[in-house]
Each structure stands twice: as C-alpha cells, then as structure tokens.
C-alpha cells in the first residue's frame, strides 16, 4: 500500500525557527526542537529542517539542534541548507538526522550526489529542486539555485533524471512561482516532473489550505506533501490535514 506522508518544514536561522510560528501551547515556539516534538506528537510523518542562514557558524548550531532533536523525536527527519561536502553531511547524520537535502551544492558539483549516495546510501540523499516555469519554452521548467535567486539554465526534468541516476533517493520539488502564494501547488509542474521520476517526490510550494494537500496527491501525483505556513500559523493541524486527506480517499498513517 502506498501511503502519503505529511511533512512540516521548519526554517531555522541560527538555531531559531523563523516565519512566525504561532502555537500558544508551546513554551518556546522558536525552539526547533520543541516544535519538532510538537509535530511528532501531532502525528507528522516526517520533518524537514531547513537551515536558511547556512553559514559555517550556523551549521554548528544546526548540528546541536539535530543532536537535541534525536534525543526526543522518534520519526525521520531531514536537514537541508549549507551542506556542501561529505564531511558536512557526515556531521549532520552522525548527530542523528536521517537524510540530508542538497540543492545549490549539487548544481555546482553534481558528483556530490554520487559521493553521498555511495558513502551513506541513497536513502539518505534528498535533492531539492527549485524550479520556475520557463519564460521562453511553455511546458518547460527551469532550475534555480541559491534559494531561488539564480537561474541555472538547467531543464528541471533533465536535472531530476540526472540526480536520480547519480543516486538521489528522493526529490523535494518546490515551485518558485507558487512558493509563498498560498494558492496551491503547481500541479502541472508536479505531473510533468513526477512522471518519469522513479524515486519518491515531495511536493512543496504554495499550500494554503487542506484541499491543496489533496490536489498535490490526486492531481499532482506527489508521494509526500510539504507545508509550512498552514501548520506554523495554526490555521490547520496535522490531524485535521490527515482527516481531510483520508476523507478524500488518500491513505495516510492514522493519527492516534
């Protein structure tokens, strides 16, 4: 049976969660570890920490966050942002993360994907692909690096095929057109890029309500759905999301 994972994403800047988090029942909603434990208890299937500072100093802070998270959160979690070498990945994984996500570093040196897969296994390697609709070619999508700021000229479909061939175990696919809009995933992009993707694909960018999560799966074909704002702002909870998806006929791990 295929079940769909719901994955909250936490943006972390020097050890603090950013993007206003609004939970009254947390002692310290800015603490990524406490927030991770909260989502775990709510029934999140996985978590992603995105280190948005991504400086060497911030990375040490992230290692500490991972260390503390591993002591109290017993669901899988991925760390992305600032991982540029095997050594960076090793520190994060040894601290207790299950997967690392790379983006710009893979574009600059695609061999890194191969090296990570050989060293840690492909199940550890998530490649994040930020893409925008091409202005020149309709139906084409272009990969962006550096947090969506830099056009790379890479065709997203080809790029996904290349990284999967190199050993990516999962693709985190974000629509730069939709990210932050709250008006839903770019379903056409999901379908187009997911069609020939032989590894699981996580849809990201644009979720503003629970129906968007459903569409990402039924209409976009995603294997997992990532959301930030709708959960962080307290608009919706993970159990609500699971209930909504289940009612739409999607198999999800039931919330206890």
């Amino acid at each position: 049976m295929k079940s769909v994972r719901i994955i909250p994403c936490l943006d972390v800047d020097n050890g603090r969660v950013v993007k206003g988090v609004n939970f009254l029942d947390l002692r310290d909603a800015g603490d990524p570890v406490e927030l991770a434990a909260h989502y775990d208890s709510q029934g999140a299937d996985e978590l992603i920490f995105l280190d948005i500072a991504a400086s060497p100093q911030a990375q040490q802070t992230m290692v500490d966050v991972v260390h503390r998270t591993a002591e109290q959160v017993f669901i899988p979690f991925t760390v992305g942002g600032g991982i540029r070498s095997l050594e960076d990945a090793r520190r994060i994984l040894r601290a207790g993360a299950d997967k690392v996500s790379i983006n710009t570093a893979a574009i600059e040196r695609p061999e890194l994907v191969t090296e990570l897969a050989e060293e840690f296994g492909r199940q550890c390697v998530v490649v994040a692909v930020d893409a925008k609709r091409s202005e020149k070619d309709s139906g084409k999508f272009e990969v962006f690096s550096h947090g969506g700021r830099t056009a790379t000229g890479l065709d997203a479909k080809n790029w996904i095929q290349e990284v999967v061939q190199r050993g990516a175990g999962e693709i985190l696919q974000t629509s730069m057109d939709k990210d932050g809009t709250l008006d839903g995933f770019d379903l056409e992009m999901l379908r187009e890029l997911g069609r020939e993707c032989s590894v699981p694909l996580i849809a990201s960018g644009g979720v503003g309500n629970l129906e968007h999560l459903v569409e990402g799966v039924t209409n976009g074909g995603a294997d997992a759905v990532l959301a930030a704002s709708i959960f962080h702002f307290g608009d919706h909870t993970i159990p609500e999301a699971k209930k909504h998806m289940k009612e739409a006929g999607i198999l999800v791990r039931p919330h206890r």
Binding site: K2, R5, D40, P76, G96, A97, E170, R256
Partner: protein
C-alpha cells in the same frame, strides 16, 4: 537480573546510529555505540543497525573486525541466547546473500536471499506502512493498527520465521524472529510510539523490566 540493561549498538561506521541509541536510552536502557569487543561481550543485548547498501554494510562490518563476532552473537540469539536485534540492512545482512550485491556473502544466520521488491513503480519504499503481524512478543502491547517507517528497495524472503509483513506492490517481509534473534525491515527507532513499544519489548527480552 537487576538494574539497567546494557545494550550495545554495534558501531561500524554506518549512517545514523544515534537514533537507535537515543531511542533505547529514552526507554531507560543504557545504550552504547561501540565497536569494542569487551563492551560488546558484557552487554545484555546487541543491536545491529544498518543503512545504505548490503555490500557497503557487510564490508564495513568486515573492516571493523566485527563480522565473526556479530555472526556468532546472532547465531547464539537464534538458539535462545543473548537477545539480538537487526534493523533494516541489519536484518538483510543476517541472510545468506542479497541480489543487491551479488557474490558477497552475508552472515548466513538466516536462510535465503534478499531480493529487489517487485511490482512497484517507486523504489525505495520510503513511507509508513501498516503491519500485518503474527502474535509474537515483539508486538506485545501494540495498538490494533501498527504503522511503521520503512526505507528500503530490497526485502528478505517471507519464511517460517516471518512475524510481520506489509504490502508494497507485493507482500513484503517486515520482521523476523527466531528465538531471541529479532530483526525488523522497518526502523523501530523512527516509528514513533509503535516503534518505541517494539524496542521496549526487545529490551525486556534482555531479562530486565523497565
């Protein structure tokens, strides 16, 4: 036996071993990540985690000089001796060989070959899945519906010692038990409350009530 059980989590340089250690500590056991023979020998129970490929894990076990010791410990557990738990590739390595790395010998404590999962369009199976369980101490106190987290492309054969399966394309071996030798294809240390319960059952097998 009294006091806190000592569980040795075999450290042979593979991936994230800390999660298994922390989950066992969370349950009140003393868990050490170790490749030290003396520590391994005096532990009340052993855990063999494993992520990545079959070949890489077997080679790493050889490189750290733990292969024979691990094999003997698993054999002993299968005969009713000191408890031993294999996790993910740790389960696969207990078998004779794997289609993933042809020509390489596994530990051979459990008969059969690990094979690629067939009949699905996405591999690895990277998701939570519902277990179909036999009545076994591994699942004592578990909820009616036990969902656990899987990450794998290869699976062990379903056999007389299979105690749980899940469905992914086809029916897939999810857990094995032979006396005190337990092994799970899923990650109990990453399967929330359900997984912690399984680990707790394993720790009590070491003869210590938490």
């Amino acid at each position: 036996m009294t006091g806190v059980p000592l569980i040795a989590v075999l450290d042979y340089g593979i991936g994230n071993l800390r999660s298994a250690q922390k989950a066992l500590e969370h349950l009140g056991a003393e868990a050490l990540l170790t490749d030290n023979e003396e520590t391994i020998n005096r532990a009340d129970a052993l855990v063999l985690p494993g992520v990545g490929s079959f070949g890489r894990c077997i080679s790493a076990l050889e490189e750290t000089g733990l292969r024979e010791l691990t094999k003997a410990a698993a054999q002993e557990a299968a005969e009713g001796g000191r408890p031993f738990l294999g996790i993910c590739v740790g389960l696969q390595m207990l078998h004779e060989r794997s289609e993933e790395t042809p020509g390489l010998e596994g530990l051979g404590v459990i008969d059969g070959e690990v094979e690629l999962i067939s009949g699905v369009d996405k591999l690895p199976q990277m998701q939570w899945n519902l277990l179909k369980t036999e009545s076994h101490p591994m699942f004592e106190g578990s909820e009616q519906e036990s969902w656990t987290y899987f990450v794998h492309s290869y699976a062990a054969p379903i056999n007389y010692n299979t105690v749980a399966t899940c469905v992914y394309g086809t029916e897939v071996c999810a857990a094995i038990a032979q006396n005190n030798l337990w092994a799970t294809q899923f990650h109990p240390e990453k399967s929330g409350k359900v997984g912690l319960r399984i680990l707790e059952n394993f720790v009590s097998l070491a003869g210590v009530d938490l």
